[in-house]
Amino acid sequence: MLMVLGYNIGPLLAQGMLGLINGAFYALLSLGLAVIFGLLNIINFAHGALFMLGAVVSWMLLNWIGIGYWPSLIIAPLIVGAFGVLLEKVFISKLYKLDHLYGLLLTFGVALIVEGLARNQFGSSGMAYAVPDSLRGATKLGFMIMPTYRAWVVVASFVVCISTWLILEKTPIGATLRAATENAALVQSFGVNVPRLVTLTYGAGVALAAFAGVMAAPVYSVNPNMGSNVIIVVFAVVVIGGMGSILGSILTGFGLGLLEGFTKYIYPEGSGVVVFVLMIIVLLLRPAGLFGKVS
């Protein structure tokens, strides 16, 4: 069998594939964070909790009202996004003029409250969420068995990530939004309602987190702690990619998933820290991140 650096190529390919799947979640989550930070300058620490809320809402939709996975993929992000809009209106909008730290503390508090309430309601063992019938089964790839659902996760998140990037970079709405963050007063003078635009952007970033949550529900159990496990890694992804860089967060998300996947194969004990080791190296060599602009 073909060898790379003393390792069989088969298992390496398999680990790479698994890494990409996890990377898909990192990319989706860091994308939302990057949108919120890049356009609103808010370090949204509640992102993990909102990811969890996406999964929990999809579980509630299924078990309480009988709404299945596919409609949930739209409805749950809408519900959680609406919650985000409320959050922005009531709290976050008051903080734009203050230091980043205030936003971080506020959203961190929100995360603790949301997670605490969920734990109180649902416990910590988690709830099962079945894979939708149409995505059940698995395909033999020769070097591994690929569950259909996981393949779907990679494809769907890739499409969502690229669409988001295109909307922000290549459409008039995206252009207006970027302009508004550069000079709000000027854009407002053109008749654009900037505060509403900003609120909706926060809502959209939150909806992205919730979308990732719905995607994650069948893979991991729906668990009130699922967000806090992933949020720190996702922040590292954003820092490595360059705070606020949309494309950077997407590429870094998938890339770090791969790196983590290989580490799990070569030295499993190190898989929890490898991302942070890389983060330190990047911060030392390129403080603005791999894709960030030096201001």
Partner: protein, 410 residues
């Protein structure tokens, strides 16, 4: 009469002092209060296997025993150790030094339990563990202020591991939580596999806590060619491992070495059916366990007691029996004296039946190997286990001589 401010203040102070005096004398004559501190994970991965249900079961014991308390009362306090040994140890210190806690119960997470056990010994208080698994607690790390109530890694390895090996599973691959508990469970099971002439093909230790995706380790397990996947982990990690093993079509037998009934509920019977697991308590085991569960289930309807929770009930009852034996004054003075009294008394209650506590602090009860029911066999939520095998108390636990407990040699 004119009353000056100074006079008024003086009168009020004297009045307060005179009324306070008899009160403080009354307090001196009041019954001593013993405090049981339930210290466990109330917000993380082990919340459901311990958490608030452990507190409820401890309070249940106090309530049931209240008429039998001879000249003392008992209070229950509780705290969250967040699975951090330093947090656990500092709460223990604060409880012992400042809050007058006499015994700490539950303490899941072997790392935290080892830390708390050292503090309890230093302060001469009691650590009554029902939540941590490492058999080192009654082995090389044992002390005279410690009792382990309901399970340990050796007993789990012997029961679940032993049954798996007996059924032909002689080659293993482990997925192990990278801390004291995971390594001890893997070690105890490995010793058993080797003694049965089996072999271990490999293992992957993953960072704990914080790992949610186990697919990478599952693929490594599959490609190792081993027949059995040994899960040396617990709680949410075990749930995710099993769930993802099904997803990736793993063809190996799965030995979930530590699994609780709440894990089965979270997995659903559809996924968990057929798995073997070991507990020393199950609500539907006999009349006693059913009676106990009936008394507490309305207080914890979403999380019926498992062996850890039942251990808090049973251990607290026995703790109070020991106080009755040596008297409240002697018990207040020395945790070691309470533990000695607990060891000298046979145990008996609804949850665990009759049992005893060995010199090294190991409680001796039978262990039960269960198989998870098929959905068609279950009558509803919580009706999950079929009893496969009972290991009597004499065989269920590591023999005293093999533990290496230092004060036993002395």
């Amino acid at each position: 009469m004119e009353i000056s401010r100074r006079k008024l203040l003086g009168t009020v102070t004297t009045a307060a002092a005179t009324t306070a005096l008899p009160m403080s004398r009354a307090r001196a004559q009041a019954k001593p209060v013993f405090k049981l501190g339930v210290l466990n994970d109330q917000s993380g991965p082990y919340r459901d296997t311990g958490g608030i249900t452990s507190v409820i079961c401890t309070k249940q014991a106090v309530e049931e025993f209240s008429s039998l308390m001879q000249g003392y009362t008992v209070e229950v306090v509780t705290a969250d150790h967040q699975n951090k040994p330093d947090v656990g140890a500092s709460i223990a210190r604060q409880w012992f030094d400042r809050d007058g806690v006499d015994a700490i119960l539950d303490v899941p997470n072997s790392g935290v339990a080892l830390a708390v056990s050292a503090v309890a010994k230093e302060k001469n208080k009691v650590h009554l563990n029902t939540g941590a698994a490492t058999s080192d607690l009654t082995g090389v790390q044992c002390n005279e202020n410690f009792i382990s109530w309901n399970y340990d890694t050796w007993m789990l390895a012997q029961s679940t591991g032993g049954a798996t090996v007996k059924a032909g599973g002689d080659t293993w691959f482990f997925i192990t939580a990278d801390y004291a508990f995971g390594h001890k469970l893997e070690g105890d099971t490995t010793a058993l596999i080797k003694s049965a002439k089996g072999s271990v093909k490999g293992s992957a230790s993953y960072p704990f806590p914080g790992t949610t995706d186990f697919s990478s380790f599952l693929l490594q397990a599959q490609s190792s060619g081993a027949k059995v996947l040994g899960l040396a982990n617990a709680g949410g990690d075990t749930i995710n491992s099993i769930k993802q093993a099904k997803e990736f079509g793993l063809t190996m037998d799965i030995a979930a070495l530590l699994m609780f009934i709440s894990d089965v509920k979270a997995l659903t019977l559809e996924v968990a059916q057929g798995l073997h697991l070991t507990e020393s308590f199950y609500w539907d085991l006999n009349d006693g366990t059913r009676a106990f569960t009936n008394r507490v289930k309305s207080k914890t309807p979403d999380n019926w007691p498992n062996m850890s929770h039942a251990g808090c009930y049973s251990g607290s009852l026995h703790f109070m029996k020991a106080i009755n034996k040596i008297g409240a004054t002697a018990a207040k003075a020395s945790g070691k004296a309470i533990v000695e009294a607990m060891k000298s008394l046979p145990t008996e209650d609804d949850a665990f039946g009759k049992g005893s506590i060995r010199q090294d602090g190991r409680s001796l009860f039978p262990s039960y190997l269960f198989q998870v029911k098929k959905p068609s066999e279950s009558k509803g939520t919580w009706d999950y286990y079929k009893l496969v095998q009972t290991t009597p108390a004499e065989q269920a636990w590591r023999p005293l001589k093999d533990g290496g407990c230092p004060f036993i040699k002395a």
